[in-house]
């Protein structure tokens, strides 16, 4: 697949034209088979945009109600003050019964409607289980072509927030004072150590200080237990106390984000590529299980092939589709 010339649509996305960004996001959400080629084309073009290469993709995860949306809002405001543009993807769960959703994160974000440098899109999980939506990955890529920083807010379902590590350059885990569960998960190694830890709702100094101290302890235990993200062991996870409602600690958070982004400079491309590979494999194996993986030659083969295809310009989504078709065809032959 030759990297196509940016057409008008893509060019408009890259110039952060809101209507174009919105159309592009609508397109990547489109699940109809006939749209897949257009999605793949668009993403292939956007991948090479100047913003995408230089930008920063930040994932915010953490238990429901810790203040992820409020924090995203505060973060976006400060980033805008520093002259950086911001795209936000906010993910909320869909109702299992109806398939519908109430996308409530946006209600917590206050923004200037005339600001061309801030864009917020809500997405529903629509049956996905990893705390993200079907189109979250692609949406991040669209926004990354248009804005300096992209923030992804997950649904906040706790332990199963796994997919975010494949999407974000920097994973921020948000907790609040007194959230014992998270500490336990960290200590027990159930939860991978995030790149940055935020203790939000630190309005009450004393409680927040205690929470930060508790976290330090938990992190030490977790390090000892080897729960670091495997791709990154020389990064020391900073702990930042914030009050999203009062706006305190936000500058420190931005400093920590910048430091992590700086730290990634040499490894960023590998990290993103790893994320894409993992995303593809997860998509496939979630759909077809171990049998699917072994039918297509086992994990190592499949991984190598995925790496190769993605290098060739394929996108995770369409590759997964193709692999699915292969698997189904193979099934047909054996039974």
């Amino acid at each position: 697949m030759p990297p196509s010339e940016p057409d008008d649509d893509a060019r408009q996305v890259m110039s952060a034209d809101k209507a174009a960004v919105s159309r592009a996001l609508n397109l990547v959400e489109d699940r109809r088979a006939e749209s897949h080629a257009r999605v793949a084309d668009l993403l292939a073009v956007l991948k090479d945009s100047p913003k995408a290469a230089g930008g920063h993709r930040v994932g915010l995860t953490g238990p429901p109600g810790v203040g992820k949306s409020t924090l995203t809002s505060a973060l976006a405001r400060s980033l805008r003050q520093r002259g950086r543009t911001v795209g936000v993807v906010a993910v909320d769960p869909s109702s299992i019964r109806s398939g519908g959703s109430l996308l409530g994160d946006r209600a917590r974000m206050s923004f200037d409607p005339t600001d061309k440098g801030l864009f917020v899109r809500s997405l529903a999980t629509a049956g996905e289980v990893g705390g993200l939506a079907y189109a979250a990955n692609s949406s991040v890529r669209v926004l990354a072509a248009a804005y300096d920083t992209v923030v992804v807010e997950t649904t906040g379902v706790g332990q199963s927030e796994i997919d975010i590590v494949h999407v974000a350059d920097t994973v921020v885990l948000v907790i609040q004072p007194g959230s014992g569960d998270v500490l336990q998960f960290l200590k027990a190694g159930i939860m991978e150590i995030p790149d940055i830890l935020v203790v939000n709702k630190a309005d009450h100094d004393e409680l927040a200080r205690r929470a930060v101290a508790d976290l330090r302890g938990a992190l030490r235990t977790a390090h000892a237990a080897g729960a670091d993200r495997d791709r990154d062991s020389d990064w020391e996870t900073p702990i930042v106390a914030t009050s999203a409602t009062k706006g305190t600690g936000i500058d420190e958070l931005i400093d920590a984000l910048d430091a992590h982004r700086g730290h990634l400079e040499t490894t960023l491309q590998t990290r993103r590529r790893q994320g894409e590979v993992q995303w593809t494999l997860d998509l496939f194996s979630r759909k077809h299980g171990e049998h699917g993986v072994s039918t297509l030659g086992g994990l190592a083969t499949l991984k190598a092939r995925t790496e190769q295809e993605l290098d060739g310009g394929e996108t995770p989504l369409s590759l997964c589709e193709r692999l699915s078709r292969e698997y189904v065809a193979a099934l047909g032959q054996t039974t």
Partner: protein, 668 residues
């Protein structure tokens, strides 16, 4: 025993009508005629800009000036409002909350100008911010700052305006947002506890004086159509308040523990269909708060028969006032002692309510109290859920509403032969006139004194002093409502309360035919999704200062439950924000909900801005209190459909919305 017809009568309750509109001068005239009709107190309705701290010249005030109440921007307005009404003899109730400190300051300043000593002033500031976040929606600042204003007002009046009721804890608005009797009791009590705890925490009231503060707390309660249960609820309030004041605050004087309350009867249940029936509902509801002598309301105001149509005219309010007068002066009610003492039935139901409410009080306290339960969205979600259950049972016919889901056939009502004249309309010139007047005021006052007063206000706001004295000084200096509030917005920031919808689930699933309808709607959306590639996405928007959230919330929940992806950002969103959200979210359909009467200004503005943003082809529907003549105009301007309270069948609305998306998709 007295002879027939010669019994001693109790003094009747205070009779009020909630009113105010257009201008201070026009409202003054209204008050004077109301007093002449035998009304015994005043109840001031302020317009939404005044309630939310904006002057008429603020863009956010567009379409709202003088609409649902009187605009009071400065001392001159307050003087005009009470011109010729001696404030030392008046009992004035002001429905004011976020800006209560400011409006009371203006009132005190106006009294001082009349030569009246504030110590003799009588009346009430509503001043209950908790229920604003939960239901009424005129809050401005975050909870902590708001609670500080609340306690400033209370602690100031204890000595300086000792006959004033500094706060009216409101359960009225909770029932209007769907609360069950248990919830109404429990959330009003936790609010009172939250306020009293906060007053205590200021350290300004000596322990020995605390009973005095407790004794000044009054309540503003609702009474719905299940009037026997409501009667028991009032008795439960009396018992529970006695318990709280004694056990939690150690108040020994029984007088200070008395549950003092005023009432506005239920308006949520008043219908657009066969509106004359509302008079009967109103009278029955009034019985709940008057029959028990031991739990009788101190003040009553009644809605009018045309509640669901629009604002009441003086005659409509007079009809309701007459209902009170007939009960108090014609009937023999006030000649008897408590009618229900010893009634096993009443006592048993009362006890049930006491117990269930107490349990919920403990639950909220366990969650950190009223403020916490507001911030976490816990209470709001409960209310939204109760309201959804209520609506569902009306839609299914499980709960009978005469003229709505039963006995709908009838002779046409002569009262609404000319529908457009059956309500009060406000002259659209009011807005522009007020802006011109405001400009004059600002030019004629001593702006140096204004600057100084504002600087002092800021200094106090940033310290922990009491905001009242600086506000009274600012009132005298000619500061405006918008200036006062904007300054404090700068210092404390603004707050958007949780909407309660995201987590809200409707407990009882539909059964039978209703379940089949929902299933059909879900399948249709599923099909549409397959054809369109994306799940249909609906933006529910509430433009302007309107705080009526029930309709928008219930539409949002229902839409989710039939399978829409729904974006709902809560109340008080500007048309600009709504369009920005529509654009960024890539929605297929926009629904606007407006009940404050500003639809003719706001709906076209949204539509215009949508066209400018290239979203001219996204269908827009509107709902709320929209008179038919206005609905016609809106449809002529491209609004796809207009819904009003009579459209109680949410399934029908959903079916229409799906049709709209389907049609638009087919047209593409």
């Amino acid at each position: 025993m007295a002879q027939d017809g010669k019994r001693e009568r109790d003094r009747p309750w205070i009779m009020r009508t909630y009113s105010g509109h257009s201008t201070a001068a026009a409202s003054n005239e209204l008050y004077r005629t109301n007093l002449a009709k035998g009304q015994t107190g005043l109840s001031v309705a302020f317009d939404l800009p005044t309630q939310t701290g904006y002057d008429a010249d603020d863009p956010l005030a567009r379409g709202e000036v003088g609409k649902v109440g009187v605009p009071i921007s400065h001392l001159g307005d307050m003087r005009d409002l009470f011109d010729g009404i001696p404030l030392d003899q008046m009992n004035t109730s002001m429905t004011i909350n976020a800006t209560a400190v400011w409006l009371l300051s203006l009132y005190i300043a106006a009294a001082e100008d009349q030569g009246v000593d504030p110590h003799v002033l009588r009346g009430t500031t509503q001043n209950d911010i908790i229920k604003e976040y939960l239901s009424r929606g005129t809050h401005i600042f975050p909870p902590a700052a708001s609670m500080r204003l609340t306690t400033d007002l209370i602690t100031y009046t204890v000595d300086e305006v000792p006959k004033w009721n500094p706060i009216n804890i409101c359960s009225y608005h909770l029932q209007e947002a769907g609360a069950t009797p248990t919830q109404e009791l429990a959330y009003a009590l936790v609010t009172a506890i939250g306020v009293l705890d906060a007053v205590k925490a200021t350290g300004r009231i000596p322990e020995s004086e605390f009973g005095k503060v407790v004794g000044r707390i009054s309540f503003f309660v609702n009474a719905g159509i299940r009037f026997v249960e409501e009667l028991c609820k009032m008795r439960a309030f009396v018992e529970l308040w006695d318990r709280v004041t004694q056990e939690r605050y150690g108040v020994t004087d029984p007088k200070q523990r008395r549950f003092r309350y005023g009432v506005q009867v239920n308006s949520l249940g008043l219908t657009e269909q066969q509106p004359e029936n509302n008079v009967i509902r109103i009278v029955l509801e009034m019985l709940a708060v008057t029959l028990s002598k031991d739990a009788r309301a101190r003040a009553i105001q009644l809605p009018a028969w045309n509640e669901a149509l629009g604002l009441p005219r003086p005659w409509d309010q007079q009809w309701s006032l007459r209902a009170q007068q007939i009960l108090a002066y014609e009937s023999d009610l006030l000649e008897y002692a408590d009618l229900f003492k010893g009634s096993e039935v009443v006592e048993a139901r009362t006890q049930e309510l006491v117990d269930s409410a107490w349990e919920e009080v403990q639950e909220v306290l366990k969650r950190g109290g009223a403020v916490e339960a507001v911030e976490s969205g816990y209470i709001k979600q409960k209310l939204v859920e109760s309201n959804a259950t209520r609506l569902r049972s009306i839609e299914s016919g499980e709960q009978t509403v005469v003229g709505v889901n039963k006995y709908v056939e009838g002779a046409p009502s002569p009262l609404i032969e000319n529908l457009d004249e059956a309500i009060l309309t406000v002259d659209p010139e009011v807005d522009a006139n007020k802006r011109a007047e405001l400009a004059r005021w600002k030019m004629e006052r001593d702006n140096g004194a204004v600057e100084e007063a504002l600087a002092e206000l800021r200094r106090v706001a940033e310290s922990d002093g009491n905001m009242m004295p600086a506000s009274i000084a600012a009132a005298h200096a000619g500061v405006t409502t918008g200036e006062w509030a904007n300054l404090l917005r700068q210092v404390w920031g603004e707050y958007r309360a949780p909407t309660g919808v995201a987590g809200a689930t409707v407990k009882s699933s539909p059964t039978g035919a209703a379940a089949q309808t929902v299933e059909r709607l879900r399948n249709r959306l599923h099909d549409l999704e397959a054809r369109m590639g994306r799940r249909p996405k609906l933006l529910v928007g509430k433009p302007g200062l309107d705080g009526h959230s029930n309709g928008a919330e219930q539409i949002a929940i229902k839409a989710r439950d039939v399978g829409f992806d729904v974006v709902y950002e809560g109340i008080r969103v500007s048309p600009e924000q709504i369009v920005a959200s529509a654009l960024e979210e890539g929605v297929h359909l926009i629904g606007l909900s407006i009940l404050s009467g500003s639809h003719l200004a706001l709906v076209p503005e949204v539509v215009e801005r949508l066209a400018d943003a290239g979203l001219g082809d996204v269908p827009v529907v509107a709902g709320g209190i929209i008179p038919e003549a206005d609905a016609e105009r809106l449809r002529a301007e491209g609004i796809a459909a207009v819904y009003t309270p009579k459209d109680f069948e949410l399934d029908h609305i959903m079916s229409d919305l799906i049709d709209l998306v389907d049609r638009e998709n087919a047209a593409e």
